[in-house]
């Protein structure tokens, strides 16, 4: 990565952040974001620029909000630390994207199968039964849940959604601090899993 900074600049900014400097993120962003984009884009060639920017910016904002997550004693430079965090975010996003795509493909296959004019052949009957079984299982899981919000959350999870914000929106807690949102979302998911397990469904 072509460096636009030296490590002492980053070191100073890190200490300013740890000391509670409110304006340091702006300077750090100026210094490091572009270099991170170049480094991560090289690690994920042919990947949508948006996904790369998202991963980097989220890692950057996470770090600035909680600079203590970077521990200098590990002897990893800050730019490398941010690069690793960005890489993780992008890798997670791509995994989520793959899962979502697979789900969409499965649903599309199901739709296509259902749309095919059925001949009274055994193959089509079996396919139709499989489709019905999947739909019935999903419907069964939904019916297990009484609260409409729980149902919406389950539906999102079945679609492969993982972002806290998406669940927080359903729960109406987007106004809370992100940590509080995470806690509440996790609590809700655990509760739903418990209900599903109690009724014999898969968590």
């Amino acid at each position: 990565m072509p460096l636009r900074f030296d490590s002492s600049q980053l070191f100073k900014l890190h200490h300013r952040l740890c000391d509670g400097d409110r304006t340091a993120p702006d300077e750090l962003a100026e210094l490091i974001l572009e270099s991170l984009v170049e480094a991560i884009a090289r690690q994920f060639p042919h990947t949508d620029e948006q996904i790369i920017w998202d991963g980097i910016v989220e890692a950057f904002l996470d770090y600035c909000a909680r600079p203590s997550q970077f521990d200098e004693r590990h002897r990893v430079p800050l730019d490398r630390f941010l690069q690793m965090a960005s890489w993780r975010n992008v890798a997670n996003a791509l995994r989520g994207e793959t899962r979502r795509r697979r789900h969409v493909e499965t649903m599309a296959r199901i739709d296509t199968t259902a749309a095919v004019e059925l001949d009274p052949t055994a193959g089509n009957v079996i396919q139709q039964e499989d489709t019905t079984l999947i739909q019935r299982q999903q419907l069964g899981l939904m019916n297990t849940l009484q609260d409409p919000k729980d149902r919406q959350i389950l539906a999102l999870r079945l679609q492969g959604e993982r972002r806290t914000e998406a669940f927080a929106e359903i729960l109406g807690i987007s106004h809370l601090p992100i940590e509080a949102q995470r806690r509440e979302v996790k609590r809700t998911k655990d509760r739903i899993d418990k209900i599903l397990r109690r009724h014999g469904g898969p968590p």
């Binding site: 304006t23 974001l33 600035c64 909000a65 809370l176």
Partner: protein, 138 residues
């Protein structure tokens, strides 16, 4: 000379900061939403320009226990009106507290609060000053 991508990245980061309560961007976004004003109008109220808003949005939110110092630090760096910034942050914090205690009454109480703020702004600033140090003081 600034690289266009560099600017776009800063803008993008500032946009994302609007979704994070740790950042001043979140506070400013809530204020814009409540007051139903444009970014240009916000910049005017702060004595700034829309061009500076993304950098301002990337600042961390002032801490309750260092409120005056944090406001002063931000306003000094960005050459903005410290009193206006303090008022905006305090207003959004009040709305946030209301929303946390009773989301149902938020809309009604927010309206009352804004009306009170509009009437009593000079007094509110005085109150802030007596509680903390004057953010305008150099």
């Amino acid at each position: 000379m600034t690289h266009p991508r560099h600017e776009r990245l800063l803008d993008y980061a500032a946009q994302r900061a609007k979704a994070r309560p740790d950042y001043l961007g979140w506070v400013l976004a809530r204020y814009i939403e409540r007051e139903r004003i444009s970014e240009a109008e916000l910049a005017t109220r702060l004595g700034s320009t829309p061009h500076d808003l993304p950098r301002l949005a990337l600042c961390l939110r002032p801490r309750a226990e260092h409120f005056a110092d944090d406001i002063r630090q931000i306003s000094t760096k960005f050459h903005i009106d410290a009193t206006a910034l303090a008022g905006i942050v305090r207003l959004v914090e009040s709305l946030e507290t209301l929303a946390a205690t009773n989301p149902d009454t938020l809309t009604a109480e927010a309206g009352l609060l804004m009306a009170a703020r509009a009437r009593k702004q000079p007094r509110q600033v005085q109150d802030d000053e007596s509680r903390d140090h004057d953010p305008c003081e150099s």
